[in-house]
């Protein structure tokens, strides 16, 4: 009986200690991709995400809304003004009193400064503009920083990452902290670092946002996915960026 209790205790202990990945052991999804997929990402002439980056560059200069202003009219050259910006998003929006991700920030600019119609989530335009802005940070380290304002969001993201959900009763951590590098239905489980978003997924045959990817995972464990823009989704995005702090941005990354 006692031995049985000890075994049960040991199982309980291993089940609750979700080992966090040591900084030197962190690996981008790039490292788990096939050599063909990596070659596609590395070559700007072959990376299909670059097509969206080029579209984003056009949108950056396109005048929009009642104010007839473009992004460039306020921000100038994205090469300098947007360098490093994607590396520190999501960030706290004082006017809204909550954190916003890069997509939400772009739409804030459209409503506040351009008086233009909002881009729909996952629309080609929003993805293109996000990719163009994030592309300016390619090679720079992720710099998500927790301050007093972002602390609640970071804590919520951390909790959601470790909370078991769905019919399969899995947390993000179960796969991406505890079992990365192993296989799930033939695919390698990566560590889940958001280094290359928006990402060109070969399965999607298009660019997609981090939120789309999160919804994908949640559907996979048979949980109800968060709505686009939900505070939980942004909190999870923030926690993931914090978890990947220091890793270089790869946008637009290519993934299987």
């Amino acid at each position: 009986m006692r031995a049985l209790l000890l075994v049960a205790l040991a199982v309980a202990v291993t089940a609750t200690t979700a080992a966090e990945i040591a900084p030197e052991a962190r690996r981008s999804g790039y490292d788990f991709a096939s050599s063909e997929t990596r070659a596609m990402q590395d070559d700007d002439a072959a990376n299909p995400g670059i097509l969206s980056v080029l579209q984003g560059e056009t949108l950056w200069r396109k005048k929009a809304g009642a104010t007839d202003r473009s992004c460039a009219d306020c921000h100038g050259s994205a090469r300098t003004s947007m360098k490093g910006v994607a590396a520190r998003y999501p960030t706290f929006d004082a006017a809204l009193g909550r954190p916003v991700d890069l997509e939400q920030r772009i739409n804030r600019c459209r409503s506040e400064h351009q008086a233009a119609e909002l881009f729909a989530w996952e629309s080609g335009e929003l993805l293109a503009l996000t990719a163009f802005i994030a592309h300016q940070s390619r090679g720079l380290p992720i710099a998500a920083r927790v301050d007093a304002e972002l602390r609640p969001s970071s804590d919520l993201g951390n909790e959601l990452f470790h909370r078991r959900e769905g019919q399969l009763n899995l947390s993000c951590s179960k796969c991406h902290d505890d079992n990365w590098g192993k296989r799930l239905a033939g695919s390698v489980i990566p560590q889940g670092h958001p280094t290359g978003y928006p990402v060109y997924r070969l399965e999607w045959q298009t660019l997609g946002s981090l939120q789309r990817r999160l919804r994908n995972c949640m559907t996979g464990v048979r949980a109800e996915p968060y709505e686009y823009g939900a505070p939980e989704a942004v909190a999870l995005e923030f926690y993931l960026m914090e978890r990947a702090r220091g890793m270089p941005i790869e946008t637009p990354a290519v993934r299987p």
Binding site: D43, A45, A46, P48, I50, L51, L54, Q205
Partner: protein, 106 residues
């Protein structure tokens, strides 16, 4: 007009074998998928790609529904003389998009 990326050397030596890489934005809709209402999404693919070098055809490809979105086509040709390379993609609607790139052969 679809967005296109074409990569080839601007200068080459006579007789040199050069690699040309092309990428075009296109959904390559197979015609086999159903939309939200259950009706089939009509087929819409690029079905032909042709490259001519100073008017002479040097490469041609036929494309089918199994080819992924944003088709990437890379091929080799021999740099024979200075001039123009024309790249044409034709879709199911019969629309052709042509892009021209110059090359200098020394």
């Amino acid at each position: 007009m679809a967005r296109v990326l074409i990569n080839l050397p601007q200068r080459a030596k006579r007789g040199e074998i050069i690699e040309i890489k092309t990428l075009i934005a296109h959904p390559m809709e197979t015609g086999y998928r159903l939309g939200n209402t259950g009706t089939a999404i009509p087929r819409d693919i690029i079905n032909r790609f042709v490259c001519t070098y100073n008017g002479e055809e040097v490469f041609r490809a036929e494309l089918f529904p199994a080819i992924a979105a944003n088709p990437f086509i890379a091929f080799f040709t021999t740099a024979t003389e200075s001039g123009e390379l024309a790249f044409s993609w034709t879709d199911d609607h019969g629309q052709t998009q042509t892009e021209i790139r110059k090359i200098t052969v020394e």
